[in-house]
């Protein structure tokens, strides 16, 4: 029979993980459904379960002025993150379209990362901001960029004795950003296509530009190389470069057919969104 461990503090949680592999349960909004059983019976867990939702040590959102970043603890809830003044507006806008109030009151950002779904909406912003994931174990900490931590569809570089402790989001100066989520319903929908883009204009030159797609490839699709080729150029030049940007973006994505949408639709919509993002730079 599997064991259920409700730790009193982070150290207890880490000791538990060190003793053997566990499912790590935060809000439960993904895991409880993935392991769902018939009504009235416990979910089908084949491993021990460690419950970290109520670890107050990990329930924080705070700004680190020295490093100019925001630190988000693994048990802080999406709703709280979306109301924090220091969290980037792009991420707040994305969170407001994840699930519904009932989901956001228990779901966590760390959970959205650990779930590593190709349709994980928050991931698109975390990739753009080059967020880092702090992994904690009894042996200490590892810090990985989000793009290294997520290694594939529902695959992450998390050792069995580790848990996600914190997410570090470096703050960026931004002139404008754009978030588009295409789903079947405004709330509680899993994206068919998503897009986030941001840029910074200084004296007519675009000094920073970042954009990425969600739900149209195994992982968030972002090309730093393509972004770099557009930096420090006047706006008109970037807009004139649109055919190449569309071409490169189309190579970047690999949408699939599934129950939510199909690859033709997804590719068309992704192309339309990046076109409107580039044309809208001002």
């Amino acid at each position: 029979m599997v064991k259920h461990i409700i730790p009193n503090n982070l150290q207890e949680a880490l000791n538990t993980l060190n003793a053997g592999p566990c499912h790590i349960m935060a809000g439960g909004t993904d895991l409880m459904i993935q392991k769902r059983n018939t009504a009235g019976t416990p979910p089908k867990f084949m491993k021990d379960v460690l419950y970290i939702a109520n670890l107050e040590e990990l329930n924080y959102v705070k700004k680190d002025g020295k490093r100019n970043c925001v630190l988000i603890g693994a048990s802080s809830k999406l709703e709280d993150i979306s109301h924090h003044p220091d969290v980037p507006n792009l991420l707040k806008d994305i969170i407001r379209e994840i699930g519904s109030p009932g989901i956001r009151h228990s779901a966590t950002l760390a959970g959205n990362i650990a779930n590593a779904s190709p349709a994980g909406d928050s991931l698109v912003a975390l990739y753009l901001y080059d967020a880092e994931v702090v992994l904690s174990s009894v042996n200490g900490e590892r810090v990985l960029p989000i793009s290294k931590f997520i290694t594939g569809v529902r695959r992450i570089d998390l050792r069995t004795n580790e848990l996600i402790k914190e997410i570090i989001i470096p703050l960026l100066p931004v002139t404008k950003y754009k978030w588009v989520k295409v789903g079947g319903r405004r709330a509680d929908s899993i994206s068919k296509v998503s897009f986030a883009g941001l840029y910074l204009v200084n004296f007519g030159l675009v000094s920073d530009i970042r954009f990425a797609f969600g739900s149209v490839s195994a992982m968030v699709a972002r090309s730093v190389e393509l972004e770099n080729s557009l930096k420090n150029r006047p706006i008109e030049q970037i807009i004139a470069d649109l055919p190449r940007i569309l071409d490169e973006s189309n190579k970047l994505i690999a949408p699939i057919d599934d129950q939510r949408s199909n690859k033709v639709y997804r590719r068309k919509v992704a192309t339309n969104i990046i076109e409107s993002f580039i044309n809208g730079i001002q």
Partner: protein
């Protein structure tokens, strides 16, 4: 077996049950609080909405373990309050309840919304109730009912 303690509808309770059980099942099967409904069972319909520390949560994807130390309010607990009377009257006046299966969840989501925002705009009500589906599609009447409740119950929230 772990002992899990929480406050349920104002009373301190303690249970020795599998901590991975859905809070929904614990409420319905163990406490016989059947006002909380199971609709989709996957967090999309809100029929199972309850309040945890005053905030609406889907009890179908909420493990019992996470209830440890929390204050849980179900429709049965809310029914003893003045706020509920106002919400009930408002739903009656505006025709906000048709077949009734979504109504407990709608009321819990409305209570959560009004306690954080006593005078919500139409848009804010739609977002506050966005996780609750009504298969009778009586949405506009439900939105009006929440507006009516905010009006009738001014000062209560």
């Amino acid at each position: 077996m772990n002992k899990i303690k929480f406050n349920l509808n104002g009373q301190d309770v303690s249970v020795e049950l599998d901590p991975s059980l859905r809070l929904l099942d614990v409420l319905r099967d163990h406490f016989q609080l059947t006002g909380t409904k199971e609709g989709c069972g996957e967090g999309e319909c809100g029929a199972c909405s309850v309040l945890i520390n005053g905030r609406v949560v889907n009890s179908c994807c909420f493990p019992l373990a996470n209830a440890n130390g929390k204050k849980i309010l179900t429709i049965e607990g809310l029914a003893k309050t003045k706020r509920y009377q106002i919400l009930k009257d408002a739903f009656h006046i505006e025709g906000g309840s048709q077949c009734g299966i979504c109504t407990p969840g709608m009321i819990m989501a409305a209570e959560s919304l009004l306690s954080m925002n006593p005078h919500p705009s139409d848009e804010e009500i739609r977002i506050g109730l966005s996780g609750n589906l009504c298969r009778c599609t009586g949405y506009n009447m439900i939105i009006k009912a929440v507006q009516k409740a905010a009006e009738l119950g001014a000062g209560l929230w």
